[in-house]
């Protein structure tokens, strides 16, 4: 029983991290049709923001939950204004440009911080279930992912900003004709996606070591989650994360983490063959 609980927590944790890591990417892709290949680097910058804040004596919770989204959100704003806005509607060019950006950021981070591994101390201690030790922070990550998902849903569904954003993404010309400043909406949406990426980087900073190149270990999972999910950002990510998270974690328990990630990829390839437009391309149509 205790073991089953532990396994259950691990599976839910895998799903929660997938949601957290993919959410920013899904917002930017689902709402703006922009595939941001620098997403992993946004996460890493969130991690660095958290470590810098901790080194300067900031409270660890503020350092991982408040500082990274603000810092990376601002960077996202600059990136949108400087690069992305020239490339709207040209998906391939956007991908390549954001890949260039990703390499550029890796280079900059290496130049500034060197290639040694940074970290943030674990703010929560573990607890025991029966004979097993469980990580309290993992439970926090699960709760926090759900909270973030809910907050983003409320923001997009019930606020004026969310309404303007959804309207602009559906029909930019019509929104502009009704007096919406669409360039501003695009910029804010991109910054929101970047801020979510930064937040994920901050939240995961205590569990993952941070090096300039660690973005690569996140983006594979984030991309297949977003692609598997399809056009509807929130429903898509949640359903795809449920599927891939359980498949990957089950394979991890059966073998090891390496084959867990292989199982995840295979599941994604098969899913793409059956549902080329992702899960929300066929089910949950019109959901957010």
């Amino acid at each position: 029983m205790a073991y089953a609980t532990i396994v259950g927590i691990e599976v839910v944790y895998a799903i929660a991290t997938l949601i957290l890591v993919s959410l920013g990417l899904a917002i930017i892709f689902g709402m703006m049709r922009v595939i941001n290949l620098a997403h992993g680097e946004f996460l890493v910058m969130g991690g660095y923001a958290a470590t810098i804040a901790v080194h300067h004596g900031v409270n660890v919770w503020i350092a991982i939950l408040i500082v990274p989204p603000i810092a990376v959100g601002l960077i996202g704003l600059v990136v949108e204004r400087a690069v992305i806005r020239f490339l709207y509607g040209r998906m391939v060019e956007t991908m390549l440009a954001s890949w260039g950006l990703s390499l550029l950021i890796v280079g900059l981070l290496t130049t500034i911080f060197g290639s040694s591994t940074e970290g943030v101390p674990m703010p929560l201690s573990g607890f025991t279930i029966g004979a097993y030790q469980a990580s309290g922070y993992n439970v926090f990550v699960i709760a926090f992912s759900l909270l973030t998902l809910g907050a983003v849903y409320v923001l997009l569904r019930f606020t004026r900003l969310g309404l303007l954003a959804r309207g602009t993404m559906q029909n930019a010309a019509m929104a502009a004709a009704l007096g919406v400043d669409t360039t501003k909406v695009y910029a804010v949406t991109f910054a929101l996606g970047a801020a979510l990426a930064g937040l994920a980087g901050g939240v995961l900073a205590p569990v993952a070591g941070i090096v300039p190149t660690s973005g690569g270990s996140y983006i594979g999972q984030a991309f297949i989650t977003v692609l598997g999910g399809g056009a509807a950002a929130l429903t898509g990510v949640t359903s795809a994360a449920l599927l891939f998270g359980s498949v990957g974690q089950a394979a991890t328990f059966a073998t090891n983490p390496v084959f867990g990630s292989v199982a995840l990829l295979l599941a994604a390839v098969v899913l793409i063959r059956i549902l080329p437009n992702g899960i929300t391309g066929r089910y949950f149509k019109g959901w957010l």
């Binding site: 550029l104 900059l108 297949i224 692609l227 990829l265 994604a268």
Partner: protein, 347 residues
Amino acid sequence: MKIAGIRLDLIVPGVCGLALLFGLPIFLDLFSLLQVTLYAIMAILALSLAFIWGYGGILCLGHSAFFGLGAYAYAIAVINIGESTAPFLIAILVPTLAAAAVGYFMFYGRISDVYVGVMTLTLALILFNVVNSTSGAQYHIGKAPIGGYNGLPNVPGLNVPFDPDNSLDPGDMYYLCMGLLIVVYFGLRWLLTTRFGRVAVAIRENEKRVEFIGYDSRLHKLATFTIGGGLAGLAGCLFVNWGAYVSPTTFSMMQSAQVIIWVLVGGVGTLFGPMIGAVALSWLTVEVGSQQLIDANLLFGAILLVFVLLVPRGIMPVLIDRVWGRISLPRRPVFTAPPVAAREGKR
């Protein structure tokens, strides 16, 4: 391009290629010749992507997957077999089959260009992670360990087919790589003149129209992609032979990015440009690697960004337009349909 009925576009590269093949060993010392061998290998890799991206219109962002598979397939096979004839073929066969399998799921699922890019990128990422984390002694194929992040050192080199005692020295390797580059270049040029090649290019231009005419675009895309994967594997196999060493970095993002940059800088939709791009930027990689001031990622990221934003067509097409525009007669105005992307880009 014809002047006085002579196919300049065939003769110039042919003469240049043969001149380099037989001329360079006379003028260069062995060290420089080794460098040129590497450039030739990278040029083959560039050609493989130039074919599937520039002509097939398939954006493969994870091309290092096939490069790395070729490299590892050769290394593992040659350690097990000991003689290089079969491993050489296996090194081409494994990535070809991998490309065919992945391509089947992608093209028969009819996923869009952008998804193809992301899927291939993910494939390369996961292969990198798998190979990078299988360093223990329990991970082995036959006699060969996979080696994890340490890679496989001391991989036996190629020998004359069916003659294990007669292995190729660096000079022979130069002739082999340069010769294969010439063969691959003209092979692709020939392939593009065939019915298959023309359909592949037509699919790049407008997939729907090609299907209406009655061609199976899925099958043609799959074949294009598979050929590209096999050629990348060939480059990977030669690369292992060049350094007698293979490491997971053959699968890395940086490797994929570099191939994309070579093709983009040289010119998408040409074969000659990407070869130039590969040589020039491989040279730059070596130069950057020998100093500490500028990080390689920083430099290549900046190059990629600048070219996407400012020179999206690449150097070769721009140069051809400039030079050819000067020396040839003014062109007749040609009616061109607006680019497909402009009409169908926003879904």
